[in-house]
Each structure stands twice: as structure tokens, then as C-alpha cells.
């Protein structure tokens, strides 16, 4: 039953970043929250109604969170003319630490980084591990979920988001 793929090798490969999204059927209403950004300005999820929102729970010490952040910024740049927003919700870290970290990310995130100091929002959203991401549609429903790191600018993820954006345009 056990196949050993060779002797001890030198360099452990980093875990593969996947690009799958789990469609939630039926979609459920996203729990609203209001959290401050780096400047202390509050962001309420329901204020983004009418836009597609990628909600990402993360922390600076979490390796896959660090790896996926540049891909979120690239996705944000590709969809900058669309009603699409990313909210990166940091868990239990102080703004100074996060500011230093985001300055080192290439490309550096231009989307709002919010602070969930006691993880109340993460727990309310049923997050068990970091990173965890959810895509909320224009009606405020969670339609996709992704647990673990993702390559967010992968064509399949971009296609799923563009699909949500297109559906809304067709309804109008």
C-alpha cells in the first residue's frame, strides 16, 4: 500500500496553490460586518451591495496568506473598471505589523485591509483556518467559498467572477 517516492530529497516544494472555488448552493446571505481599515475608517459589507466582493480572512504569519496576496492585487487591477471589491480581513494583528507587511508585498495591496482584532467576524462567518475566502454577489449572498491559499488571478477564478458581473449586467 505504501509507495515511497525515493529517498530524502533536498528541497521541499511549497504546497500547490489551487484555483478552485466551491459553489455554495443554495447561496446564503452574507453576515454583515463593519470593521476599520488601516486609517481607522469603517467599512460595512452591506455598503458594497451591488458589487461583487471577495472577502479574504488572513494573517501576516500565515504562509499561504502571504503567498496569495499578490494574486489578489493582480486580480483587483484586472477588474479595476468593474463593480468588484476585495476586502482583506486581518486576524488579531496590530496595524503597525500589517502596514510593514503590506509594504513588502509585490504588488502591494491597494484594496482595503480591515482589522478583526478578536476574530468575531471570522467566527461568525464559520472560518476554521486561515486563509479562507468567500465571494459575495451583488445581492449580498455568499456564492463561492475557498479554504486555503488560492492563485486568485488564475483564469478560472477570474472567469467565475466575471460570470457574476456579467449575470448582473444581463439582469439590468
Amino acid at each position: 500500500m505504501l509507495g515511497i517516492a525515493g529517498a530524502v530529497s533536498a528541497a521541499p516544494p511549497l504546497p500547490e496553490m489551487s484555483h478552485t472555488l466551491t459553489a455554495l448552493k443554495p447561496a446564503k446571505a452574507a453576515k454583515d460586518f463593519s470593521l476599520p481599515d488601516l486609517d481607522g475608517k469603517p467599512h460595512r459589507l452591506s455598503d458594497y451591495r451591488g458589487k461583487v466582493v471577495l472577502v479574504n480572512f488572513w494573517a501576516t504569519w500565515c504562509p499561504p496568506c502571504r503567498r496569495e496576496m499578490p494574486s489578489m492585487e493582480r486580480l483587483s487591477q484586472r477588474l479595476k473598471d468593474q463593480p468588484f471589491v476585495i476586502l482583506g480581513i486581518n486576524q488579531q494583528e496590530d496595524p503597525e505589523r500589517v502596514f510593514v507587511f503590506t509594504a513588502q508585498v509585490d504588488p502591494s495591496p491597494n484594496f482595503p485591509i480591515l482589522f478583526d482584532p478578536n476574530s468575531k467576524v471570522a467566527h461568525a462567518w464559520g472560518v476554521l483556518g486561515l486563509p479562507a475566502s468567500f465571494i459575495v454577489d451583488q445581492q449580498g449572498r455568499v456564492v463561492y467559498r475557498a479554504m486555503g491559499g488560492r492563485e486568485f488571478d488564475h483564469p478560472e477564478i477570474e472567469r467565475a467572477i466575471r460570470g457574476l458581473l456579467k449575470n448582473e449586467r444581463l439582469k439590468k
Binding site: 500500500m1 505504501l2 509507495g3 515511497i4 517516492a5 525515493g6 529517498a7 530524502v8 530529497s9 533536498a10 528541497a11 521541499p12 504546497p15 500547490e16 489551487s18 484555483h19 478552485t20 466551491t22 494573517a59 504569519w61 500565515c62 504562509p63 499561504p64 486576524q91 488579531q92 478578536n118 476574530s119 476554521l128 483556518g129 486561515l130 467559498r145 475557498a146 479554504m147 486555503g148 491559499g149
Partner: protein
């Protein structure tokens, strides 16, 4: 010809187990000298990465956690762990079902995230994100990471019996001869 005919039933029995063979890879980090193991078995992947006690201590200290929390980790051998779902369907696991087997053959439960959180709550602290989720149901492509903790001294050898559920079936696999990280970083070979 008769021999060949006799082999066919044996091959038919063997084929499913060949298709389900677990694949184990082991790595040694060239800089730190630390080991990691990754086993993919029937759609469930588990990777354990040795972590030096000082690194674990530094992580908890840098979070500003109480000294009692930092000290509480000291008797444990800590691994970075990654679980991934490659099954093509939904899969679930419960760390409470897993056991580590020490050299004397005894099986021991692992301390789960729920148990760590209960301890830390008493000390006014919560850094639960650092521990591998105690139980998860996740879809293909999903993964989770966090610490797996085993109450053993540095350089202890043990086996880990772990399990998961997929399509209503319970599966079990074993990672054999795992080794806790040494107390200090190994000196690289010349």
C-alpha cells in the same frame, strides 16, 4: 497458459490496491536540516514539517501571548502541518480520531485545537489560528494548515495513524517513523 489464467484473479484483486497506493515523500531542508513528510493517500494529503522549539516559542512570544501560554507549548513537539483534498469530492477529518504511536506501541490522542483553545481561554488568550483546525469538511482543491502537536521530547520517533471520511467511507493511513525536531538546529553536513 494455465499459469496466466491463474494469475488473472490475483491481478484483479491487486489492481484496486495499486491504484490506491499511498505516496510518501520525505524532504530535508538544505538550510535548516529539518525534515518534512508528505503522504497522499486516496485523495487526502497530509504534510508534517519539523519545527524547532525556539521557532515555535518565538512565534508565540512575538504575538504578545502570556508567558504561561509560551511555556505550555514547551513539552510538545510541534509540526507545521498541511492537509489537502485531492479527492475530487467532499472530504472530512477529525484530529480527535488521530493517534500517535510511541516506541512502546502505545497509542495516544493528539491535543486538538479545541483543547488548546480551552487552555488558552483560561489564560485570557486566543491564538487558535496557529493550530490545525480540529475538524473540517472541505472540497477538492481546499486545504488547511496549522500546527500539529505531539507531547513528546525533541528527536522522539513515532508513527501517526490518521483518518478521514470520503463519500461516507472511513479511511485510515499511517505516517511511519516520524521524528520530532531536535532541540537545536542541526549542524549542516560539511
Amino acid at each position: 497458459m494455465k499459469t496466466h489464467r491463474a494469475l488473472i484473479p490475483a491481478l484483479l484483486i491487486l489492481l484496486p490496491s495499486i491504484a490506491q497506493a499511498a505516496e510518501l515523500t520525505q524532504h530535508r531542508d538544505p538550510e535548516s536540516g529539518l525534515l518534512s513528510w508528505k503522504q497522499v493517500d486516496r485523495g487526502f494529503s497530509l504534510e508534517l514539517i519539523q519545527l524547532l522549539p525556539d521557532l515555535v516559542k518565538a512565534l508565540y512570544t512575538s504575538r504578545g501571548l502570556p508567558q504561561s501560554v509560551v511555556d505550555g507549548m514547551a513539552p510538545y513537539c510541534v509540526f507545521g502541518s498541511v492537509v489537502q483534498n485531492h479527492s475530487g469530492g467532499e472530504l472530512s477529518y477529525r484530529v480527535a480520531d488521530w493517534r500517535y504511536v510511541t516506541a512502546d506501541g502505545k497509542k495516544h490522542p493528539l491535543k486538538t485545537k479545541i483543547q488548546w483553545l480551552a487552555d488558552w481561554k483560561k489564560q485570557g488568550s486566543d491564538f487558535g489560528w496557529s493550530i490545525l483546525p480540529a475538524a473540517m469538511t472541505f472540497d477538492t482543491g481546499d486545504w488547511a494548515q496549522g500546527f500539529t502537536t505531539v507531547r513528546l521530547p525533541p528527536e522522539s520517533h513515532f508513527d501517526l495513524i490518521y483518518s478521514w471520511r470520503h463519500h461516507g467511507k472511513h479511511y485510515t493511513s499511517t505516517l511511519k517513523n516520524l521524528i520530532c525536531a531536535p532541540a537545536q538546529q542541526p549542524v549542516p553536513a560539511p
